[in-house]
């Protein structure tokens, strides 16, 4: 029951007036970011990260800073549903599956029901994930205290192999995009020997590529370029939510408890192993369609078809913070950006965080409970205001978003070079997205590249270059074995299919 006691203390930290105010600011900013094309959870948090530098210097400031940033993340998760249901434009990749049934509902004049169902099930998914985090993360952290360099490298390996094994994109494209991230992470000064790598005499490259700039370019500029192709007009259903609609929908929702539970389980699993919110939402939509008695009506405007992907997306998005806090391995690009924030503020994510920074960790976990309640209240009451943002013409909003992205990239290191890199990453993001190269492994590789390399080299020093160190005990051997299984999974499943076809 240690966890409950720590959690109560966390609530004491999170319930200060300042932190509660930041929570609401974060949620509102987050929903706006989630609604706008080109701005999403990952790059929204990346752009606002520099603003927290001075905030984090004050006592207790790191907790306030993480509460602000994580609430932006929850807000963005909520915001994606609004554009999917009203405009058939998924504001975020994980809300694509929400458009399948959400938009038809909106067309039938039941937008209010669809929105209420989406927000409520988002809330339920997040809540279940936070409960999982509350009770599972201290266990994982205690377990991870025993880890040495080989074990940590095995965790990194597992993370990256999971991308290859579980992503929808072609395996070799996933691999190429991931290795590109590692190569970008290697640019600059070698942390061990101090040698200059891949700089080719350029001073701008000395400090390497910052993943925040990559995130802003890939997800921000790249997304705007893709949105442009599809034309500039937004045509949407009107958004009206009143208390009657909310209560009616809430009466209907308990019927889908099994779908919710199943989707939350899929979401939590996909968030902890780095599958991410997007595949989780598709997967649970598919599962719900197969198991629901109304499965054949999915796609025509079923409330259940909104409940399933939204629950899973929020559960995955939230539980992606579990490995970030306990192991220092983020489960999603946005979690990676939050991890970057922790490092900048001078906190070392990983098992020691649960011992040395108790207030920070439990304040954050408590704020997840409160932030999602605040989020539910904000989105239910302010939907029309947020939907109005989308009616701002593109010729006004697009340049402003590009300006925001440019400012965000500049403030990372106060360098103009980074703003240029943002444009380059933007073009790359556009091409990668159209050719279905996944972006998440690229971003995670840039973030984790240095540390994966450091633990690899330490492990190699330990063993004097003997690779069998990654199989030297049961723990590290299991993780490495699992990683290799996931890595070769696309090949194995291809072989299995062939065998079955020929039999």
């Amino acid at each position: 029951m240690d966890e409950v006691q720590s959690l109560i203390q966390g609530f004491v930290v999170a319930l200060s007036f300042k932190n509660l105010a930041l929570m609401f600011v974060g949620i509102i900013l987050g929903v706006i970011i989630g609604v706008l094309p080109g701005l999403g959870g990952a790059n929204g948090v990346a752009i606002l990260l520099p603003l927290t530098f001075s905030m984090a210097q004050t006592p207790g400031g790191t907790t306030s800073a993480i509460i602000l940033l994580s609430c932006i993340y929850w807000g963005a998760l909520f915001g994606g549903a609004i554009t999917s249901i009203l405009f058939n434009i998924p504001g975020e990749p994980w809300s694509v599956a929400t458009t399948f049934d959400g938009y038809p509902l909106g067309q039938q004049g039941r937008a209010g029901n669809a929105l209420t169902a989406a927000f409520t099930s988002s809330f339920v998914g997040a809540l279940i994930a936070v409960i999982v985090i509350t009770f599972l993360s201290p266990v994982v952290a205690r377990f991870a205290l025993e880890f040495g360099p080989p074990e940590f490298f095995a965790v990194y390996l597992l993370t990256f192999c999971a991308f290859v094994g579980m992503s929808k994109e072609p395996a070799f494209k996933t691999l190429a995009s991931m290795m590109l991230g590692f190569a970008l992470a290697a640019v600059g000064t070698d942390p061990v020997t101090g040698a200059l790598r891949l700089t080719f005499g350029s001073t701008a490259m000395l400090s390497g590529f910052d993943f925040l700039v990559a995130v802003i370019g890939l997800f921000g500029i790249g997304e705007i370029l893709i949105t442009l192709e599809e034309g500039l007009a937004f045509k949407g259903a009107a958004a009206k939510i009143n208390l009657r609609v909310v209560l009616d929908t809430w009466k209907e929702l308990p019927r889908y408890w099994l779908t919710s539970l199943r989707s939350a389980a899929v979401g939590c699993f996909m968030g902890i192993v780095p599958g991410g919110a997007t595949p989780a939402s598709f997967m649970s939509y598919g599962v719900a369609r197969r198991f629901s008695p109304n499965g054949d009506k999915f796609g025509t405007g079923q409330v259940e078809g909104v409940v399933a992907p939204e629950t899973a997306a929020h559960a995955a998005g939230t539980s992606a913070l579990l490995p970030m806090l306990t192991l220092g391995v983020p489960g999603s690009p946005t979690a990676a950006v939050l991890l970057g924030g922790l490092l900048i503020w001078g906190l070392q994510p990983g098992p020691l965080l649960f011992i040395e920074q108790k207030d920070f960790v439990w304040g954050l976990i408590a704020s997840m409970y409160l932030g999602n309640i605040a989020g539910l209240v904000v989105v239910l009451t302010c939907v029309p205001a947020f939907a109005a943002i989308l009616r701002i013409p593109f010729s006004v909003i697009a340049p402003i978003i590009i300006v925001i992205c440019a400012i965000g990239s500049y403030t990372v290191h106060n360098s103009n070079f980074d703003v240029w890199m943002m444009v380059v990453f933007g073009v790359a993001g556009y091409a990668f997205k159209k050719l279905s190269y996944p972006l998440a492994p690229l971003v995670l590789a840039i973030v984790l590249g240095d540390r994966a390399e450091a633990s690899f080299r330490q492990a190699m020093l330990f063993s004097q270059g003997d690779m069998t160190v990654f199989f030297s005990n049961r723990l590290v051997g299991t993780m490495t074995g699992l990683a290799l299984l996931l890595l070769f999974w696309p090949l194995l499943s291809w072989l299995l299919r062939r065998l079955r076809a020929s039999a």
């Binding site: 520099p50 603003l51 530098f53 001075s54 072609p170 070799f172 494209k173 691999l175 190429a176 290795m179 590109l180 590692f182 190569a183 290697a186 070698d190 061990v192 020997t193 040698a195 790598r197 891949l198 080719f200 500029i221 705007i224 370029l225 442009l228 192709e229 013409p393 593109f394 010729s395 006004v396 697009a398 340049p399 402003i400 590009i402 300006v403 440019a406 400012i407 500049y410 403030t411 106060n414 103009n416 703003v419 240029w420 943002m422 444009v423 933007g426 073009v427 556009y430 091409a431 990668f432 159209k434 050719l435 190269y437 390399e453 690899f456 080299r457 190699m460 020093l461 270059g465």
Partner: protein, 168 residues
């Protein structure tokens, strides 16, 4: 109207696949080259600086080589459109001004450049009357100035205009 021309493909899917895979292969080759230069073997005191990146470069080259071959063998994608002429035009109408905007930041500072950039878009693509253009573009820059320089004390690049106004 040249509706017909706009719907034509500017690039085919296969071409784009080959160009991107080839480009990534090239990057991988650069990584390998530089890692070998630094030493990619086992030194006296453990792995040398190029040890880890060398293998990264190797996998990068190998996987993009596979992508390259797959793209060339793929018959289904041969005639699929990657981007239509009209779409490419739209993308470039944002991309080129954005590049000019970034170049301008180094010259005039971010606030003036942003105001010009927003004004250009509103006038050229949105055809707004001048007073609206001026209000939004200047208001936008002033708002960012207040947020960053005053409230959060994060200095952004400034140029001759700010010096003239004594805001540096």
């Amino acid at each position: 109207m040249n509706q017909g021309r706009d719907a034509q493909p500017a690039f085919r899917h296969r071409t784009a696949e080959i160009v991107v895979a080839g480009f990534i292969f090239l990057l991988g080759a650069i990584v390998i080259y530089d890692s070998v230069r630094l030493g990619a073997r086992w030194g006296d005191d453990g792995p040398q600086a190029g040890y880890f990146p060398f293998y990264i470069g190797l996998i990068l080259c190998a996987s993009s080589a596979v992508n390259l071959v797959l793209a060339m063998l793929n018959r289904r994608d041969k005639d699929r459109t990657f981007v239509e002429v009209g779409q490419l035009k739209l993308v470039l109408t944002v991309l080129i001004p954005s590049a000019i905007y970034v170049a301008l930041i180094g010259w005039t500072g971010i606030y003036l450049a942003s105001a010009v950039f927003v004004a250009f878009f509103m006038r050229w693509l949105g055809k707004y009357p001048w007073w609206k253009v001026a209000a939004v573009s200047i208001g936008n820059s002033v708002a960012f100035f207040l947020i960053f320089e005053i409230w959060f004390k994060v200095p952004l690049p400034k140029g001759p205009l700010e010096a003239l106004l004594g805001l540096n």
